[in-house]
Symmetry: C2
Subunit: 287 residues, 2 copies
DNA sequence: TAGATTGTTAATCGATTAACAATC
DNA sequence: TAGATTGTTAATCGATTAACAATC
């Protein structure tokens, strides 16, 4: 199965848009070697290297950015992608960097620079084709694959995650939700049934799971992490409030409510301090 | 009520630690003007300005960092604070930057530089007093106040947040959980009863709420945000997958599961690409 | 004192941004 | 062509880090 055929399908989204040949953005990757199909053919070709390079094997569509994309850029691509989907749903066919940047909450120079790391997918004087850019950003992020994810911990948070719609959408699917509590095992959450955490290794192996989500209490997180890593998981999203120790080559991202709240508190305090001079915040002391 | 008296209490945590005069870290801020109580008196004085400055008003303890703390540092302070609490619970009285940095998952130079923005709270040749540093970091973050928080949205996520223990702990308390669904109103979540979202303005006003958490569906988030802002909330933690528009002076932080997953997917893809050359990841295509 | 560790310096690195030549 | 907008340059800004003087 080609990657292109796994482009997250948006054809289920009702739209009444007037635009060219949308149905087959996905097919573009397949027959891009056929060349100059549309206005964009030049841009696609250029993505492989310098203008004028011929890219005879048609690999530009397969490997658009051999050089590394800066971390800060990677972190913003999902935001752009979301904004692009919103535009597409509104029937917008083409968008200028200024508009897209506004929708994403960044400035346009940053947006253009970020997108330039993926390749030259815009048209000077015109803007970016929304669907085409959706496809290119999706592909850069690895979302033309469908990543199976295992969620460990079926407490409040794990249940929230399993029921979270955005999870099942483009690029990810829940392979399993596991819990150590037998009372939890067997319950239906979203589309899956909670399994016992003892199945962790089997689920990872049989499901080809590369991404694990830790939604356990803090005390259990490191042990679960160790087991995920031993089983072959190399990407971990950690909701437990602990710093996980992982070997080289394993990627951990952390989502931490209390840290976010504390950062907000810092700024709130600073604002109060500015308003009241040296006196502490009314907002908090009143309560 | 003085700020110092609102230092988040840790006396409920069972500990068997051998250390000096712990009971009254909180009181330190009150009588710090009394001066040289301990080895640290010198450091405290210096925090106000250059070594040798006299700081006759004793304001150093009230305003330790007149200059701005870098954003990157602010974001790490909560991580240090957590590591410090863990050390304190283990009965550790003093910690070197190398150890604390390891516990927090950063390098020691960064840790020392970060802490230096708060003041000079270490002792050369010795390290940092754990309890004292807990207090100083807490104060820098504004956690010596107790911030009332309103959570809007009592769906899966809102319920998870309301039940989240870390929420109620040091520095924050849930003033209300609100939902637009009458079927939800009246249910008990953690320590509070779900109210109707119509009460939002009243709750914010009467509770002196400065921090709002948006845990609604994407479609409702901007409207809720607007109402929170109108009501006077200037710090917002947004779990809805939308870019919120807020006026100048309102601080929004975003927690977004699908963005984190997408960033993980990017790195996972890159690792597969490195392993297999140009071929796409097995992990995902197998499944 | 001698050993240890902080707080700070300065060099390096990466990210942001305005401005504009390229070009649609 | 003229107007518009991209992609890129270069300057600026902020963050990281190793190294070490200060000093406990």
């Amino acid at each position: 199965m080609s990657n292109a055929a796994e482009l997250p399908s948006r054809h289920d989204v009702p739209r009444g848009r007037a635009r060219h040949d949308v149905a087959d953005e996905a097919s573009r990757a397949r027959d891009v070697a056929a060349g100059a199909r549309m206005i964009r053919a030049g841009a696609v070709r250029r993505a492989a290297g310098r203008p004028g390079d011929e890219d005879p094997a048609g690999q530009s569509a397969e490997r658009p950015c051999p050089a590394g994309i800066p971390e800060a850029t990677v972190a913003r691509l999902p935001v752009y992608l979301r904004a692009l989907y919103t535009l597409a749903d509104r029937g917008v066919g083409t968008v200028a960097s200024e508009e897209l940047a506004a929708a994403a909450g960044v400035n346009s120079a940053k947006l253009r620079k970020d997108l330039s790391y993926l390749g030259s997918y815009g048209i000077r004087g015109v803007g970016y084709d929304v669907d085409y850019l959706v496809y290119q950003v999706s592909r850069a992020l690895g979302l033309t694959q469908n990543w199976p994810v295992v969620i460990v911990g079926a407490g409040n948070l794990g249940r929230a995650l399993a029921n979270y719609g955005g999870f099942v959408t483009r690029g990810f699917r829940i392979a399993a939700v596991l819990d150590s509590d037998q009372a939890m095992v067997g319950r239906e959450l979203g589309l899956v049934v909670v399994g016992h955490v003892g199945e962790l290794e089997a689920v990872v192996a049989s499901g080809g799971v590369a991404i694990g989500v830790i939604a356990t209490p803090a005390g259990a997180a490191q042990a679960v992490c160790d087991r995920l890593v031993s089983a072959g998981v190399t990407s971990i999203l950690n909701f437990a409030p602990v710093v996980l120790n992982v070997p080289e080559g394993v990627d951990v991202r952390k989502v931490d409510l209390s840290i976010e709240l504390q950062i907000l508190a810092f700024h709130a305090q600073r604002r109060s301090a500015e308003r009241f001079g040296q006196v502490a915040s009314q907002a908090a002391t009143e309560a």
